[in-house]
Amino acid sequence: MKLEIRNAACGYGKVKVLENISFGVSTGEICCLLGPNGVGKTTLFKTLLKLLPPLAGEVRIDGQNIARWTARKLARYTAYVSQFHVPPFPYIVEDVVLLGRLNSVGYFGQPKQHDYDIRDKALADMGIEHLRRRVYTDISGGERQLVMIARALAQEPQMLVLDEPTASLDYGNMVRVISQVKALTTKGYGVIMTTHSPDQTFMTDAKVVLLMKNAPAICGGAADVVTKKNLKDAYGVDVNVVEFADANGRIARVCAPTL
């Protein structure tokens, strides 16, 4: 599956937040959206998910414009995990993950054994089977993020759309979530995610779309896009990109801001 956005303008009503955005992501790839606060990352996500109509251009899945697709049809291809998702009531983790089957079950249906099996597989894929009987509101932020990704997997999509999956996580949880996200691409899923950490583009060897205020977006491989100059243009701060050989002898990169 390939998700493409072509010459799109995104925004609310008549207010354009982003213009001339074009890029594509295939299954098995990770695409990171980078950019400063307020640049329109979430707006772009909502356009991709058909929660907002594009003000110009189009969004295509496998060459088909999704403008006339129903939410139900789109949900068979993409699954979304938002930044803020603390339910007001203490759901059990396995019940949260089962909600990923809402699309298949419909308004008036009830989950069947097949749906429970898919839920169990999603829990296993994210390595959180031990959490299944825990109360969702009691577990840590990183665990919640993995639960929500499992919920998205239970939807059986081909592309996951993750809005800042590591926001407000501690370092350990951030690494755990990113490694699970990276592992998903080896299982055939495509991932589009926003992040405020350029390092994560290197960790995941991602395709990068760098969004900037008052300048066209830059798309390409992490090594080509996440450079000292582009980060300065995007964020207005000095950041060095340092290369080194990791424990396996491969070239790795990290960002080191100059204070």
Binding site: G13, K46, L49, L51, T70, A71, R72, L74, A75, R76, T78, A79, Y80, V81, S82, F84, H85, P87, P88, F89, P90, Y91, I92, D95, L99, G100, L102, N103, V105, G106, Y107, F108, G109, Q110, P111, R133, R134, V135, T137, D138, Q155, V161
Partner: protein, 372 residues
């Protein structure tokens, strides 16, 4: 230790056990409730109640075939004496009370989920104000004849409650303009519209002469549950109209508790689910208030208990709310009957407030707050 949790804070999967206990409790309380005398304080024996209800069923079945029980009904009923009428009366009272408790608890659960707030009450959208306005319009239109027009009374109550809901939703939609319509818009508009309508109805009540005021007071007299045939028929219709759709939607209903963008991306239109939920919840609340009186506290407190026992997932909550809601209201009704407050006992609303108070205290002082 909070109900339903083990030492590690992991919920025990005791749902079936709780359900069996609840069913047993409901059956026991219902049987006890049927034995309560109406003509005097005290109880009939369960055997007498059973015989009376058996006779009642026999008469009504043989009515279809013009059988012996139907033809000799006067003699048979006279033979059983006042106990026959008491058992039949208690069956209606207990049945209506139980169903109203079910509806109120479900309504509370719906509103708390849609507003994503465990303190949300189904009266928030102004159905109570609508009912009051309906009674006033009827009293002003028909005068004392109002007291002998039960069908019209229910029609006015339901019509005004639903009109109020439509008014609140319509104004909220208009006020939100092209912005995304949110439940918070709905709350603010509901508060304003309720205040305005409440102010107008207060003006009319204040200006009423004594005879009209007496009619209104009698109309609003909710010490006793309504068991007229038209009340039972209307309650049955509203119960079927609201509980069946909610039963069918009990899994998809979970979507309203989550972020709406996320739920929409799961392929469900949460606006549709929320709209259906609010209409069903308001209808249930109206039914509870119209057929059973000022017992709205049940709608606030029962979902707390139900979540504590069955978790937050709507499918378990559905059955929990049905049984616990019915059980709590029936218990309050029976307690109210025995408190020597007046000829009819104590107002059930007061008993409900007193009985539910400890649960509120437990919730506020509880170590674990998330199960709210």
């Amino acid at each position: 230790m909070p109900i339903g949790l083990d030492a590690a804070g992991v919920p025990r999967n005791n749902h079936k056990r709780y359900m069996r206990l609840l069913l047993g409790g409901v059956l026991l309380l219902f049987a006890l409730s049927l034995c309560i005398r109406i003509a005097s304080r005290g109880f009939q024996s369960p055997a007498d109640v059973f015989k009376s209800l058996w006779l009642w069923a026999d008469i009504h079945i043989s009515r279809l075939t013009h059988g012996g029980a139907w033809l000799n009904r006067s003699a048979l009923m006279a033979e059983r004496g006042v106990g026959y009428y008491e058992a039949y009366g208690r069956l209606l009272i207990s049945g209506v009370t139980f169903v109203c408790g079910m509806l109120l608890a479900l309504a509370g659960s719906i509103f708390q989920s849609v507003f994503r707030n465990p303190m949300a009450a189904p009266s928030m959208l102004g159905v109570g104000t609508g009912i009051q306005a309906g009674l006033i319009v009827m009293a002003l239109t028909y005068g004392e004849a109002t007291l002998y027009m039960p069908l019209e009374k229910y029609t006015y109550c339901y019509a005004f409650a639903l009109t109020m809901l439509a008014l609140v939703m319509g104004v909220a939609k208009l006020s939100s303009g092209k912005r995304k319509f949110s439940v918070f818009d709905l709350l603010i508009v509901a508060a304003i519209v309720s205040q305005i309508i409440g102010g107008v109805t207060s003006y009319f009540v204040y200006g009423m002469d004594n005879s009209f005021a007496l009619v209104l007071q009698n109309l609003s007299n909710v010490l006793n549950v309504n068991t007229e045939p038209v009340s039972i028929a209307m309650l049955a219709a509203v119960t079927a109209l609201t509980v069946i759709p909610f039963f069918l939607m009990r899994f998809s209903f979970n979507a309203v508790c989550f972020d709406s963008d996320e739920s929409n991306s799961m392929g469900l239109n949460t606006r549709v689910v929320k709209f259906i939920s609010l209409v069903l919840g308001s209808l249930m609340m109206t039914a509870g208030m119209v057929h059973c009186g000022a017992v709205g506290m049940v709608s606030l407190i029962v979902p707390f208990i139900s979540r504590g026992l069955f978790g937050a997932e709507s499918r378990g909550l559905f059955w929990g709310n049905l049984l616990i809601g019915g059980l709590v209201l029936l218990l309050c009704r029976d307690i109210a009957f025995f408190v020597p407050f007046s000829v009819d006992g104590m107002p059930i609303g007061t008993v409900v407030d007193l009985v539910t108070l400890p649960v509120f205290v437990a919730v506020i002082t509880g170590r674990r707050r998330t199960w709210e």
